[in-house]
């Protein structure tokens, strides 16, 4: 019986090549999307799960609540928490501090800039990072030891055995020797902790000991005894902190500073908690949800194609069904037959999907910012998931048609009295509406993302980011050197102006007009505004003509003026932090977007204060012969700062990098929109074909009666266009809601986007018209004599 079913299923497939193509491609693409996203989601949800002690490992977190109730959560602690908690709390079996930082390393005569991890000596025994050589317990025991990852070992030492070799690492301006004591296997890509070089934390601790509790720079992991309640440990941690630091806590309170509360975060939970600062490779679970949603959208659309077309095609199969019933087939047997056919078809689609998934994996990795590999496919969980996916799809797609088809009355089918059919019944019309609602939703969403992205990347920033270089000197304390660098850079042909500034961001409090104003401090000199091309709206710039400027004068931006509530800001006084000295506002800077457009412009103070360091240069260069200018700057840098490789960025590139995730979303959603509209359209194409085939006689009669080709095309297409328009009306409010919630995440949003709706509508209608219209037109051109003679 199975053989018979298989045979007829196969023959049906080959007989209706167009429909088989629609079914298999549609389902194949849908399944492929689901497969890839399943891989993605699995990777996200099993992140860090490979750690054998995953259930015992916790990270110490810190929640800081400011006076105004603002809370920030940080996944790092100071140096002392680990040892202190281990000593005080019996359930804490062990602690590991892991700090990542950038360092210069020297091997032989060559220097390289590398990202290294400083870790406590038990790093390799607590975490499941296997060693290729070396003893996990003792490999970081010596303060001058270093463990290399296998890739780095090959990169720097080739085939030679690196054990015992010396790597020099720059630490506070001198190179210190470290001996390679072990080689570690490459850390898995679904690991929060990844490393190329692991160095002993004890070295760092010895060189720069710290005893404060509030310098949160070192992610610290605790190993709790099995079965320990982390909430109990958290209570003990905070009690201990209160006891040891009672004086300091009281002082912080009196100064109005934030209060610290310690917490524990399960190690595997770190990856999907983007609100916690200081997690590497952190990810937003929203990505998983949205991607899964899109994949399910696409699969639903493909299943709808299957359902609709199978039912539309049922006229052709009705005779077979009638005969099977007459010769004794029971409904149940027929349901099995049709379900079997959908399983077979799904099997083909599944194979196609595997091929697509394998081919699309590199592109998908790029889109999703992942390094998923094909070896993942061999995972039992993935295989089980795929089999489930396959069965569910086959069942969802096949069940309803099987029920409908098997329910045909044999007498009616054999005497040509069946009236159900393509594009006529309510269900299939509703399904088309669902399909096109999803497609238009995605089209509208895509247009929104494009519009916002264009806005983000083209909105005037208030300064000129073209031909603007940012060069970090990495010599923050050395004022003489910074001065010399500025002089030498300025002499170069092609360099238009040079402005030093403080490296990094400093946010603090100020008092002005009796108000507390949270403020971003910018440490600059008189050349900064000119280099950035930011105008002043009132007062004057810093100037060497006013020697007192450096200690007494500041510039503020317009947002500061607004926050302070000043009418006439020039000449007004303000204070920083708890400083006693008053500073005088000498000029007001026009607001500019120093950060990305995802953030509001903050109040800013520009100061020349001599106590603050410079660490970075903004350099405006001429657009001509940039290569020569860059080479010149690099030469100057290398001559004055030995060993350190010259690094620079174009400010424009840096700005663009702020929108990397938006860029990714843009690609993801465009792909999704193209795929859904494609699958919807091949479905519509199939439906139109069947509908026209069914109406061929009607079209013939109308032609004989004198209908024009246009009238007939309109008659045939109109039916479907109405559905597409209804779908559009349904999707507009949904898409608008989704898009505006997405836009809420940006401080600055694109305005005047109403054009998006008519454009999306026109695009959908145009695609649908092309799909149906081509069919309708060829039907209208057909010779009526032929179609009328068939019966």
């Amino acid at each position: 019986m199975i053989r018979n079913y298989l045979m007829i299923a196969l023959r049906n497939l080959t007989r209706n090549k167009a429909f088989s193509f629609i079914h298999i491609t549609g389902l194949g693409i849908g399944l492929a999307c689901c497969m890839l996203i399943f891989l993605y989601a699995k990777d996200e949800w099993t992140f860090d799960r490979f750690q054998a002690k995953a259930d015992q490992l916790y990270r110490i977190t810190c929640s800081i609540v400011e006076k105004d109730g603002k809370e920030s959560r940080i996944g790092a602690s100071a140096m002392v928490q680990g040892p202190a908690f281990k000593a005080a709390i019996p359930a804490v079996q062990d602690f590991v501090r892991v700090q990542e930082s950038d360092h210069l390393i020297r091997i032989g005569a060559e220097t390289y800039s590398e990202h290294v991890a400083w870790a406590d000596a038990n790093f390799f025994s607590v975490f499941s990072f296997p060693l290729k050589s070396g003893n996990a317990a003792s490999v970081l025991g010596d303060q001058h030891s270093v463990v290399l990852a296998e890739d780095e070992a090959i990169k720097y030492f080739g085939t030679a055995d690196p054990i015992g070799k010396i790597i020099e690492l720059e630490f506070n301006d001198t190179f210190q020797p470290f001996t390679v004591s072990g080689i570690a296997r490459r850390s898995p890509q679904n690991s929060t902790i990844r490393f190329g070089f692991v160095l002993p934390f004890s070295y760092r601790e010895a060189k720069e000991p710290e005893s404060t509790w509030d310098w949160l720079s070192y992610p610290t992991y605790l190993v709790l005894a099995p079965g320990t309640d982390p909430a109990a440990v958290t209570r003990q941690m905070n009690n201990h902190y209160q006891q040891v630091n009672s004086k300091q806590i009281a002082e912080m309170k009196s100064l109005g500073q934030g209060s610290f509360t310690w917490g524990l975060q399960a190690f595997p939970a770190m990856h999907l908690d983007p609100d916690m600062y200081a997690t590497s490779h952190v990810s937003d679970p929203a990505y998983s949800y949205i991607l899964s949603g899109i994949a399910i959208f696409i699969l639903i659309i493909a299943c709808i194609n299957f359902i609709n077309l199978t039912i539309a095609q049922s006229i052709r199969r009705s005779k077979e069904i009638g005969i099977r019933k007459v010769v004794g087939g029971q409904r149940k047997q027929l349901v099995f037959q049709f379900l079997g056919e959908s399983v077979l078809l799904c099997a083909f689609a599944f194979v196609l999907a595997l091929v697509i998934a394998v081919l699309a994996l590199p592109t998908f990795n790029q889109l999703a910012n992942k390094q998923l590999s094909l070896t993942y496919l061999a995972d039992p969980l993935v295989i089980a998931g795929y089999i489930l996916l396959f069965l569910v799809t086959a069942f969802v797609a096949g069940f309803y048609p099987a029920l409908v088809l098997s329910g045909f009355d044999p007498v009616k089918t054999l005497y040509n009295r069946v009236s159900a059919g393509a594009g006529r019944n309510l269900l299939s019309r509703s399904l088309v509406v669902v399909q096109f609602s999803l497609s238009t939703f995605l089209i509208i969403a895509t247009l929104f993302v494009y519009a916002q992205f264009d806005f983000l990347t083209h909105k005037p920033l208030g300064y000129n980011d073209h031909n603007l270089l940012q060069v970090t000197a990495h010599k923050d304390g050395d004022k003489q050197l910074m001065k010399l660098l500025k002089q030498e850079f300025s002499k170069l042909p092609g360099v238009l102006s040079v402005a030093p500034r403080m490296n990094g961001i400093w946010v603090t409090r100020s008092k002005a007009n009796e108000k507390d104003v949270e403020v971003l401090i910018e440490h600059i000199d008189e050349s900064y505004l000119a280099t950035m091309e930011v105008p002043l709206v009132a007062g004057r710039n810093f100037s060497p003509d006013f020697p007192a400027d450096s200690t007494r004068a500041v510039l503020v931006n317009e947002s500061y003026v607004a926050a302070a509530g000043w009418k006439d800001p020039v000449g007004k006084k303000l204070r920083l932090n708890q400083d006693k000295d008053q500073l005088e506002v000498v000029g007001v800077v026009k607001d500019y977007h120093f950060a990305s457009l995802k953030e509001k412009i903050m109040p800013q103070i520009f100061s020349q204060g001599p106590s603050m360091p410079f660490g970075q240069f903004m350099i405006r260069i001429s657009p001509d012969d940039k290569a020569r200018t860059l080479a010149g700057i690099g030469k100057v840098y290398n001559s004055l700062v030995p060993f350190r490789p010259f690094e620079y960025d174009y400010k424009q590139d840096l700005n663009f990098r702020d929108y990397e995730s938006e860029q990714r979303w843009k690609s993801i959603i465009s792909f999704a929109a193209v795929i859904t509209i494609f699958i919807s359209c091949i479905g519509l194409f199939g439906l139109a074909t069947t509908s026209i085939r069914r109406r061929i006689k009607e079209i013939g009669v109308r032609k004989v009666l004198g209908a024009s080709e246009f009238q007939i095309s309109r008659l045939v297409s109109g039916n479907f266009l109405v559905l597409v328009l209804i779908a559009f009306l349904i999707s507009v409010p949904l898409a608008w809601y989704a898009a505006s919630s997405w836009l809420q995440g940006f401080a600055y949003q694109v305005q005047g986007y109403w054009w998006i709706f008519p454009v999306a509508c026109a695009a959908t209608v145009a695609v649908a018209l092309l799909t149906v219209g081509s069919q309708a037109f060829s039907a209208s051109r057909a010779n009526p004599v032929k179609s009328l003679r068939t019966e």
Binding site: E320, I323, V327, G328
Partner: protein
């Protein structure tokens, strides 16, 4: 073998009740070869379908091999007719996607007969109708007469007691038609009860009894 008593079938259109069959009383004995004749729309096919249990009726009683069909459930009816009745149609109604062999085999599949046994039975039938050479062809590759031969082979494969034929020669030329009719007489002689609907006086003559239908009633 079967008996129809006071069978009525109608449908309502608006306020009018249109009768397809009106008070049909009919008794057919085992071994008979009955021809049903009548103009278009007189209810011939409806009557045949009711006898074949493919169609229901609104009023009356129907007894088949001692079973009261009017009180049977669909499933019971289906197992009753698939065991005892074979159907032949004017338009042959072969499954286009299956070969001659597979078409003939289909009823056996639904009767849960083992594969080896099916093979023997189909081979036997192909032999008897001398269409062994055509067994791997698809219906569209055959002439009308050959297709009807396959149709009859399929109807007979499960060894039914009753063969129902709805204008079996309607789509055939006269020579092919005559051959089919001769086949029917032979089958009848070998013990199969046959009821056929036909337009042709000549074909009706092959039967042992002729029933004339007019406007849903049997003409006395």
């Amino acid at each position: 073998m079967l008996e129809l008593r006071h069978i009525y079938k109608w449908f309502n259109s608006g306020n009018n009740r249109t009768f397809l069959l009106k008070d049909i009383n009919l008794r057919i004995n085992e071994g008979e070869f009955v021809s049903i004749m009548g103009p278009s729309g007189s209810g011939k096919s409806t009557l045949l379908n009711i006898i074949g249990m493919l169609d229901g009726f609104n009023e009356g009683e129907y007894e088949f091999l001692g079973e009261s069909v009017h009180s049977l459930k669909d499933k019971q009816k289906s197992s009753l007719y698939k065991k005892h009745i074979g159907f032949v149609f004017q338009a042959y109604h072969l499954i286009d996607e299956l070969t001659v062999y597979e078409n003939i085999e289909t009823p056996l599949i639904y009767q849960d007969i083992k594969s080896s046994e099916r093979k023997a039975m189909v081979a036997d039938m192909l032999d008897r109708f001398q269409i062994v050479g055509k067994k791997d062809l698809f219906p569209t590759q055959l002439s009308g007469g050959q297709q009807q031969l396959v149709g009859i082979a399929r109807a007979l494969i499960a060894r039914p007691k009753l063969l129902l034929a709805d204008e079996p020669t309607g789509n055939l030329n006269s020579k092919q038609g005559e051959e089919i009719m001769e086949l029917f007489s032979e089958l009848n002689k070998s013990g199969v009860t046959i009821i056929q609907v036909t337009h042709s006086e000549k074909n009706a003559e092959f039967g042992s009894r002729i029933i004339h239908l007019l406007d849903g009633m049997i003409e006395k």
